[in-house]
Every structure is written in C-alpha cells, then in structure tokens.
C-alpha cells in the first residue's frame, strides 16, 4: 500500500473536500427552505397545491438521484442551446459548469425527502400548543412562525441530522457531471497512479471525518434545546 502520492495531491484533495462541503451546504440549506414550503403545502394547503407537492415528492423520492442528475445535466443541458442568445447571457459561465446542475439536482432531491420528514413533524406537534397559541389571539402566520415550525423542527432534529449524512453520502455522484469533488479527486489519482484502493481509502477517511463532524454538531444542537416530555 503506497501513500506517497498524497504528498503531491494534498491541495487537490482539500479542494475536492471543499467542493463536496459546498455542494452539501447549498443543497441542504436551499433544499430545507423548499421543503418547508412543500411540507406546509401538504399539511394545510388547498387541493391543487397539495397534489402538486405530493407529485413532486413522489417523483423525486421514487427515482434514483443519478437519473435526476443526468436528466438535468444532459437532458436539460442538451435543450439549453436551443434558447437563442444563451451563450452570451450572464448566466452562461454558471450554466457551463456541472456544479450548477449538481447543486440544483441535489437541492430538489433533498427537498423532497426533507418535506416528508417535516410533514410528519408538523403533524406531531401537540395540538394543545397550537390551540393555546390561537387562544392568545395569534394570527396564523405568527402561530406558525413562533410555535408550529420551531416545535416541528425540534421534533425532527435527529432525523434531519440523519438526512444530512445521507445527503453527504450522495454527493459523490456529482463526479459523473465533471464536478471535481472529493470522489472525482480519488478517481483522478487512480487514473494518474494506476493505484486501485489507496485513493479510495484516503477519500473514505475524509468522508468519515465529515460524517462524524455532522453527527457531533447535531448532538450538540439537540442538547441545546431539550425536549420536555
């Protein structure tokens, strides 16, 4: 087992890790925002909104992430040149890169899974607390903002932590659309050095460290806001 190659590939590995973390952060934050909308649509929306949200979640949870990613990058990407003037627009530098499509695809996918979790959590908030809020004369918006959503998030916190770890494990797929994430760096090292296992082992260690960090952060978050039984 040779690890001497690490001396020269250090910076590339760190850059790859940065890309992975960036993809994770973008997809989790943006996905969470969309998920809140989807969850509320399913819980308290009208029939049209509810069906749209249901359909969205079914599609994104029922198809593999790889297909969604390729559908966006190759499918939509092959349709883009048909839009006149797109290469001269200011979006082009972003649309040229696989990173944009990976980020969008991961966000949409994460939103679907998170919406399910939030939906269950919203329904799990004790009805008494909501009634108390309404008795105080809170408007629906204030009630949601100060009681319903925060309580739901707290209930869902352990599951959200788990979902973020699962999202981290899904990020390597970005390498199939030219994103230089951590796994793509391992692929490059394997190509340059013709070593089969060593790059994978090193990259696995990176992922384990990231996973452990996320798990620890969430444990601390959960400890900060205790749940009274």
């Amino acid at each position: 087992m040779t690890f001497t190659w690490m001396a020269s590939y250090w910076p590339l590995l760190l850059a790859g890790a940065a890309q992975t973390v960036l993809l994770l952060a973008i997809s989790v934050v943006a996905g969470f925002a969309i998920a809140i909308g989807l969850a509320f649509a399913q819980v308290s929306g009208g029939p049209l909104v509810r069906y749209f949200a249901r359909g969205y979640c079914t599609f994104f949870r029922g198809t593999p992430l790889l297909i969604q990613l390729w559908l966006l990058y190759y499918g939509v990407g092959s349709l883009l040149p048909m839009i006149p003037g797109i290469r001269q627009s200011l979006f082009w530098p972003m649309l040229r890169e696989g990173f944009f499509f990976a980020a969008v695809s991961f966000t949409l996918n994460y939103a679907a899974y998170e919406a399910e979790v939030l939906r269950g959590a919203l329904l799990a908030v004790p009805k008494g607390e909501l009634e108390a809020g309404r008795a105080f004369g809170m408007s629906r918006f204030t009630l949601t903002r100060r009681i319903w959503l925060p309580r739901a998030i707290r209930i869902a916190l352990p599951t959200i932590g788990g979902e973020i770890v699962m999202q981290l494990k899904a990020t390597p797929l970005a390498f199939t659309v030219t994103v230089m994430d951590l796994y793509a760096v391992a692929s490059k090292v394997r190509q340059d050095t013709l070593l089969v296992y060593e790059p994978l082992i090193v990259v696995t260690v990176f992922y384990l460290i990231l996973t452990a960090t996320i798990a620890r952060v969430f444990r601390q978050l959960e400890a900060k806001v205790p749940v009274r039984r």
């Binding site: 079914t58 297909i67 559908l71 499918g75 990020t171 797929l173 199939t176 089969v196 296992y197 696995t204």
Partner: protein, 240 residues
C-alpha cells in the same frame, strides 16, 4: 405530429427503437434489486440474531460492519467492493487451495448490493425483533421449544409486521441504489438509458423515460408492499 412520431419511434421496443434496451435494463434493475434484497435479508437476519445473541466479539464485528457501511458513501462502497470483492474472495480461496471462481457481472453486482443492504437490514430486523413482547419468547422457552422452532413459529411471524415498513423502505432504496452499478459498467436501466441517449443524442427523452420506468417500479412496489402488510397484519387490531 412529426415530433411525437419521432419520439414514439425512438422509444419503440423494436430496433431501431431503443425502448427494448430500456425495458431489458428495467428487468435487469429489478433482477439485481431482488437478488440483493434476498442476500440482504439473509445477512440482516444473521446480523440481527448475532447482535442480540449476547456474544461479545460477534457483536463487535457486526457493529463494525453496520457502522462502516452506513457511514461510507454507497458509490465508494460499490466501486471498492466490485473490484476488491472478487479479488479478495479469489485470494481467500487460493489460500485454502480451492479453485478460483470467476463469476459474471450479475452475481457480483447482486453480492455487492446485498452486502451493503445487509447492514441496513440488520438494524431494521433487530429493531423489529426487540419490539416483540418478551413474554411471548419466554412462553415459548417455557414450552421447551428449541431455538429453530422458536424462530420459525414465534419470532418470524411476530417480527414481520414490525419490520415490513422498514423493509419496504429498504426495497425502495435498493431499486434506486441499483443505478449506481452503472458507474462500474454493469448494464442496468441507468446505463442502458445513457447508451440510448449517446447513440441517438436525444438525452432528455430517454432520461425522462427512464425516470418514469423507475417511478413505475416504485409505485407498483408500494402497492405490493401494502398488500403484503395487510396480509401480515390480519387479525391484529387496527390503529384507531
């Protein structure tokens, strides 16, 4: 009209339409998912019973197995095991002076996916077994039932209703993880779609078709699992 004509031609199940390749890929996906599910069940049952058996070193090994598999990205697991698995197995056989076996891609894909799923199944089945009221098992022991009889007549029927939602979820994730073996070049639905798209340059249509095929697999699986759940939960009081 010409556009829809073109699309139908592309998707036709008969060559030169690529629909046939896609359908074969879909069957391939279901086949490796089913195989992996069964192997995962075997490993999971063994793992769950092992973890609950009280044997310390066995429990440590199993804990390592489940923690490692659940923490490492599936892509790395699949790529690593696909090459390492056969290599390691052959070297193991060589040390025992057994003939080296060469197996085809299907079996390796099934074995790798099954090995990964076994870790998740272990947790699901362990939770389901723990949920069985201890009194039932004690009563069985009091009757003098041996471990195999106990497993067959008490534990297995009781754990099924508890485990079914978890198992259904795992089936869903296997059918989607099966797409990852496209990265090692094994031809299931995802790779078949990419080949079709590459040949015809109509990527969007084919990936959309593939997505709908996966969706169909998911929805049919949902129906099948709820039927199984209804059968397995017969006689139990329905939650109000």
């Amino acid at each position: 009209m010409a556009a829809t004509q073109g699309i139908l031609e592309l998707l036709s199940p008969y060559p030169p339409g690529w629909g046939g390749t896609l359908l074969v890929g879909a069957v391939s996906t279901i086949a490796i998912s089913a195989g992996a599910f069964l192997i995962g069940l075997l490993l999971g049952t063994g793992g769950a019973l092992g973890k609950l058996s009280g044997n310390r070193p066995l429990r440590l090994v199993l804990d390592l197995y489940t923690t490692a598999i659940r923490a490492i990205p599936e892509l790395i697991l699949i790529v690593g095991l696909y090459y390492a698995g056969m290599d390691g197995l052959n070297r193991l056989l060589a040390t025992f002076r057994l003939p080296v076996i060469e197996v085809n891609g299907f079996i390796v894909a099934v074995a790798v996916l099954g090995f990964v799923q076994g870790a998740y199944m272990t947790e699901v089945l362990r939770g389901a077994i723990l949920a069985i009221p201890a009194g039932e098992i004690e009563a069985a022991k009091a009757f003098g039932m041996g471990p195999q009889l106990r497993f067959r007549r008490i534990i297995l029927p009781a754990l099924l209703p508890n485990a079914l939602p978890g198992l259904a979820n795992l089936w869903m994730s296997i059918t989607k993880d099966s797409a990852l073996v496209a990265v090692v070049g094994y031809q299931e639905l995802a790779l078949a779609t990419r080949l079709a798209g590459a040949s015809t340059k109509h990527y969007f249509i084919f990936f959309l078709a593939a997505a709908l095929l996966y969706l169909a697999i998911t929805l049919v699986s949902n129906v099948v699992f709820s039927l199984i759940e209804r059968h397995v939960r017969r006689g139990q009081p329905k939650p109000v």
